[in-house]
């Protein structure tokens, strides 16, 4: 009971130095880093976790009175949406500019990427050799008929991938690509990224489109069956000979209504620092924002790769178009 | 104005059905009158009572109680502000309260304590005061409900089918008790009943309601002898409704809406066998016996005269058989 009152009071007043975060992330790495930050600075951190979309709607609804200082999401598309919705503000910070490559932050400094995930091809060690694989576009080839596993197009990662393909190839080609992929699917899309790896391991599909992050989860799952899945598959980074593998960032921006802007900036700078970046990689199987500086054992085992340098704002800008193309292609 | 209650042109319809509706009902009620509203179920008699109590709002019409307009198109006095109380068909005793709590529940009931004590004494429920409604008999519940209704000293007492919940034997006893009690407190009573016999016993005026319309309002004896419609005539049991044209020697006649002609009502026992009383002046009626049934002390015979089928009650049927020809006359002026 007391705690609830306390929460209410905290929301209403701002006596102690503190920042309020709306976060889509639910990771142990974040808990560790939040605590570390509070220990170092004495600034308390309050969090509401929820899906980024709903948090954005909530921010819009709260308008200038929102108590939130930071919006933390797991993809750039939504950050772009938040920027367009006018709930973020530009940040002036040398440290952030230095720590974060230009394609991974907003061109007007409304938001900043903090960790990276790559959307890769995961294939069966038994049935596929790496030389059969090349690009995302190649998956549309007839030879993959009934062999591809990928999740629903309602998922933001697929929408972002589609957005990058629209940016690179144009809407018309993107649509025919999506149509072909739908035809080549081993089954109607369902489940999470991990379930795609499971389908490959089970022999239902030969190649899955999924995020590196989820492979890390499988590799370190408490469930032996999951670790078995991980052993049966391997990672391929597509499009190494052209634009590079599609990546997405988990990132954050400072809200327009922020009442603790200074502390909030300090916090983002803290997260972009090399210590924090190491924590993300080791606890959460995410690439650091400077991918080359990656130190996680698992991620290193997949080797270095070339990534798509497309400015990630484009993912947000193309998102609605991507969803419409999915609808037209019949990719559920 | 000398009337205690004046009901003027009350109409009420319900959204979904025509049953229980009222149409242009008007009547008056003097102080210490006991008026009984009689009608079949669905005739609207309970609705009338509830409108007077304030539990329903009529579409049209006026009600005046003790010179106060309690209902009109502009006025609606809510039930708790009307000085009348209602005894419900199912008594509506509060199951969560003892008999005493029930009786003293009414507003200002505690101010009338001596009067209530006397009523409790009179109705012999003193030893039940600490019991709960489900622990006492139907007749006792009836008395508690009555005392409770009288506890607020109403100027008008409304009774909704006061005897319908009781079995036959108890009914006669309670009926007498009720008459006594009403006389004792000098209450003005408006009661509703589907049983004409109860009404005849207790009321000094009877109001017949038929499909929401007042058919007749009169003294009990007149209602029986001089019915104003076939409906009223039938309320008192089996009767033969015959065209006035063929029986013009019978004085009391009335108009039948369904047949669209003037008719007379002849009760089965008003027929006599011709040979038993040759002094009668009424013409002879001849007919063939269709069926004979023994019903207790008399026989019920169905006779076909060629023009009508007559229902006849006769004490002795020594030699009569089915298909016999009979000669009858009507013993009535």
């Amino acid at each position: 009971m007391k705690k609830i009152y306390l929460t209410l009071i905290l929301v209403c007043t701002n006596l102690q130095a503190q920042i309020n975060i709306y976060s889509h992330r639910h990771y142990d790495s974040d808990k560790i880093l939040f605590k570390k930050f509070t220990d170092q600075t004495g600034i308390k951190i309050n969090v509401i976790k929820g899906s980024a979309d709903q948090l954005i709607e909530r921010l819009i609804s709260e308008g200038g009175n929102s108590p939130a200082d930071i919006l933390f999401t797991v993809d750039a598309g939504r950050l772009h949406r938040a920027k367009v919705a006018g709930i973020l503000q530009p940040i002036e910070s040398k440290i952030l500019r230095e720590n974060i490559p230009p394609s991974m932050r907003d061109e007007d400094d409304y938001w900043f990427g903090l960790t990276v995930r790559a959307r890769v091809l995961v294939y069966s060690k038994e049935r596929v050799t790496p030389d059969q694989l090349s690009t995302y576009e190649d998956l549309a080839n007839r030879k993959w008929r009934g062999k591809i596993a990928v999740r629903s197009s309602s998922n933001i990662y697929n929408q972002s991938l589609m957005a990058s393909i629209i940016a690179s190839n144009g809407s018309r080609k993107a649509l025919s690509w999506a149509k072909s992929i739908r035809k080549n699917m081993a089954r109607a899309p369902r489940g999470s990224d991990r379930d795609q790896a499971r389908a490959v391991a089970a022999g239902l599909a030969d190649v899955a489109i999924m995020n590196t992050y989820y492979l890390g989860i499988l590799a370190n799952s408490p469930d032996a069956k999951d670790r078995e899945v991980f052993k049966k598959v391997s990672v391929f980074f597509p499009n190494q000979n052209d634009r590079g593998t599609h990546i997405n960032v988990s990132g954050a921006g400072i809200t327009k209504s922020s009442k603790n802007k200074k502390d909030a900036i300090k916090f983002l700078e803290f997260l972009s620092g090399s210590d924090s970046q190491k924590t993300f990689g080791s606890v959460n199987y995410e690439y650091p924002i400077k991918i080359e500086a990656n130190q996680s054992e698992l991620l290193n085992s997949w080797g270095p790769f070339k990534y798509d340098k497309l400015n990630l704002s484009v993912l947000g800008a193309n998102n609605a178009e991507a969803v419409k193309l999915f609808d037209k292609a019949g990719w559920e | 104005m000398s009337e205690l209650l004046k009901v003027h042109n009350i109409s009420k319809t319900f959204r979904r059905n025509q049953v229980h509706a009222l149409k242009n009902v008007s009547f008056e009620c003097d102080k210490q009158d006991v008026i009984s509203v009689v009608g079949a179920s669905g005739s609207g008699k309970s609705t009338l009572l509830r409108i007077i109590a304030g539990l329903e709002i009529p579409n049209e019409g006026e009600i005046i109680l003790e010179d106060n307009k309690i209902n009109s198109s502009e006025v609606f006095l809510s039930p708790e502000k009307r000085n009348c109380s209602l005894v419900f068909q199912d008594f509506a005793l509060f199951p969560n309260m003892s008999v005493r709590e029930n009786i003293f529940f009414g507003k200002n009931a505690s101010k009338n304590k001596p009067m209530i004590e006397e009523l409790i004494e009179f109705t012999r429920i003193k030893n039940l005061l600490n019991r709960y409604p489900h622990e006492i008999s139907g007749g006792q519940q009836q008395r508690v409900a009555l005392v409770r209704a009288l506890s607020i000293n109403p100027s008008l007492l409304l009774l909704d089918e006061p005897l319908s919940q009781l079995d036959n034997e108890l009914k006669h006893q309670v009926r007498n008790e009720l008459i006594h009690l009403i006389k004792k407190v000098g209450a003005t009573v408006l009661m509703v009943s589907h049983d004409i016999e109860d009404a005849m016993y207790m009321a000094n005026k009877v109001l017949i309601l038929n499909d929401g319309v007042v058919d007749q309002i009169d003294l009990p004896s007149k209602i029986f002898n001089l019915p104003s419609s076939s409906y009223v005539a039938r309320l008192f049991g089996k009767t033969n409704i015959l065209p006035f044209n063929d029986f013009s020697y019978i004085k009391h006649h009335f108009f039948d809406k369904d047949r669209n002609e003037e008719v007379v009502s002849v009760r089965p026992h008003e027929f006599k066998l011709n040979h038993s009383n040759p002094s009668s002046k009424n013409p002879e009626i001849k007919g063939k016996v269709l069926s004979i049934n023994a019903i207790g002390a008399f026989y019920e015979i169905l006779i076909d005269t060629g023009k009508f089928e007559l229902l006849v009650h006769i004490d002795k049927v020594n030699q009569i058989k089915t298909a016999d020809d009979l000669s009858l006359y009507i013993d009535k002026k």
């Binding site: 929301v11 509401i48 709607e57 709260e62 899309p189 239902l204 | 319809t13 509506a92 607020i152």
Partner: protein, 545 residues
């Protein structure tokens, strides 16, 4: 008589009487409360008029498939829930066999498990069919495999949903069968009807109103579900609403889809009401409850037990065992995952919501019945629509309204517990209102008349007649709400205050971040909490019989 001469009461006249004679503190307060509760739903409905730029796109591409998928899911779930619910209810109310008593009780247990948790517990069940699918692909062709796969997806989704939703039907069917009375059965058997024909020709048609009521609850729950359909990849209306709102960033389009869904639901409700009012004569039989039971032999007993066990195993035993085994794997994390605060948040939130919802339900039901006010009756109907509308849609409506209030009063209403509780009131008012309204109708209506004619005020009538008489209903209604709020997910997720974790949000957070195994800990806690009031309710139901 001449019926046309009777002027039937016109709406205008009713309105005039309402305004002239029935306006008082109670009705005004109830009207305001009712309208405030209806506001978020009304906001969504209003949007049907606006035109989303994407509407024609939606109509051309996905609308039809959303509709079809939703219908398949709803019909399938209703069908299996009927089988899972009616058969055990019939056996248990008519036969005597070993373990009958305990089965009668435990058959309601799946009510403790939200559909999204059951779906997690079955997350990999489809993988069992992989060998079959692969065989079909390799030996027949890919198209057939795709077809089989689709059928399997729907079957599993439908079975998972119906195995946790059937108790709604089971409970209502059981009491319908028991109340049908032995007389009728006896009459039927003297007419030469066997057991089978008694069931099909008499018992089942007579129980129809109860079954339809149960099915409509199942349908509402199916439409409300977002987690399970998302998990199994069945694109329904509810998931389409999210996709349009969030994926296309088109709130208007999402609202329009919601409005279509709401109209679809209202059409179903209307049909239900029609059917139910036509079969009202069923209720007029006042024969004694059927207490005589036929005794099964050994074989019969075994068959009966199996019949009852199948839905129970699917809906409760398997998911719970699964969760327990996962909880065992992650037991050393229990301390960090579950906190006392989380548990007390869940309990307190549910408790406060139950009390407020029951109080409001009493106010609204009592006022409408006591003053016979058609206006309040109407506003009550509007205020109790929330249960038939997916929680996520209600959340959109609330956010829209709050945005206006925020801008207007210059405050931030979101993030306060007050708003969250208001959202629960919008969604769950019916759960309390239905039984309370029915209890006042059967127990208090005529007594209120007596109370009025004895000169007491509405307040006195409420406190000394109505409340004491419906006490037990108030408790059951409160517990029903409590169970629903503990399990509730979408509203809590969107509207909760800072640092506010409940058992359901923790379960969702963990499972949505690929930690399904760890999510078993808060999920089990939640199921445990729900089991207590559920057990009590069931015990009371038995005793009423």
């Amino acid at each position: 008589m001449d019926i046309s001469a009777l002027k039937s009461q016109k709406p205008l006249q009713i309105l005039r009487q309402e305004l002239l004679f029935k306006l008082n503190g109670w009705t005004i307060l109830s009207l305001i409360v009712g309208l405030i509760i209806f506001f978020p739903i009304g906001e969504v409905l209003l949007s049907i008029n606006s035109q989303s730029e994407n509407w024609s796109h939606l109509k051309e591409t996905v609308l039809l498939s959303y509709l079809l998928n939703t219908i398949i899911l709803v019909v399938g779930t209703a069908f299996f829930s009927l089988i899972f619910g009616v058969l055990p209810a019939w056996i248990i109310s008519n036969y005597q066999f070993k373990f009958r008593k305990i089965l009668e009780w435990i058959l309601v247990l799946p009510l403790a498990i939200p559909t999204y948790i059951s779906a997690y517990a079955y997350f990999d069940v489809l993988e069992l069919f992989n060998p079959l699918l692969i065989w079909v692909r390799n030996n027949i062709n890919n198209d057939l495999m795709q077809f089989i796969n689709n059928v399997l997806v729907y079957m599993v989704t439908i079975l998972v949903m119906s195995s946790v939703l059937y108790p709604y039907i089971y409970l209502l069917a059981r009491s319908a069968f028991v109340n049908q009375g032995a007389k009728l059965r006896d009459a039927a058997s003297t007419l030469g009807y066997g057991e089978k024909s008694i069931f099909w020709k008499i018992a089942l048609p007579m129980a129809r109103p109860a079954l339809i009521a149960g099915v409509s609850l199942v349908v509402m729950e199916t439409l409300n579900d977002y987690g399970a359909v998302k998990h199994f990849g069945v694109p329904t209306f509810t998931s389409g609403i999210f996709r349009t709102w969030l994926g296309m960033g088109d709130l208007v389009g999402a609202l329009q889809l919601s409005a279509v869904l709401i109209i679809f639901i209202f059409a179903l409700l209307l049909i239900e009401k029609q059917i139910r009012s036509r079969s009202k004569y069923h209720d007029t039989l006042h024969s004694k409850p059927n207490s005589k039971k036929m005794v099964f032999g050994k074989k019969g007993s075994l068959a009966a037990i199996i019949c009852c066990l199948i839905p129970l195993i699917l809906g409760f035993v398997v998911p719970v065992i699964r969760l327990i085994s996962w909880a065992w794997i992650s037991r050393n994390k229990a301390g960090t995952i579950i906190s006392m605060e989380m548990v007390s948040n869940s309990l307190l939130l549910s408790l406060i919501s139950s009390v407020s919802i029951v109080s409001i339900a009493v106010l609204l039901a009592f006022t409408a019945r006591y003053f016979k006010s058609s206006i309040i009756n109407l506003s009550n109907r509007l205020a109790t629509l929330g249960y038939s509308i997916p929680g996520a849609v209600i959340a959109i409506g609330i956010l829209l309204i709050v945005a206006q209030i925020n801008a207007w009063l210059n405050i931030a209403l979101t993030g306060s517990l007050f708003l969250l509780i208001f959202a629960f009131i919008v969604r769950y008012l019916t759960v309390a209102w239905q039984p309370i309204n029915a209890a006042i109708e059967t127990n208090c209506d005529s007594l209120n008349h007596a109370s009025k004619t004895l000169g007491s005020s509405a307040y006195t009538s409420l406190t000394s007649v109505n409340l004491p008489l419906i006490k037990s209903t108030l408790i059951s209604a409160g517990l029903l709400v409590f169970i629903d709020v503990v399990k509730e997910l979408p509203l809590t997720l969107i509207l909760r205050p800072f640092n506010f974790e409940t058992l359901s949000t923790a379960t969702f957070d963990l499972s949505s971040q690929a930690q399904i195994i760890e999510s078993s800990l808060p999920a089990l806690c939640m199921i445990g909490i729900v089991l207590i009031p559920l057990g009590y309710l069931n015990y009371r139901l038995e005793n009423i019989k």
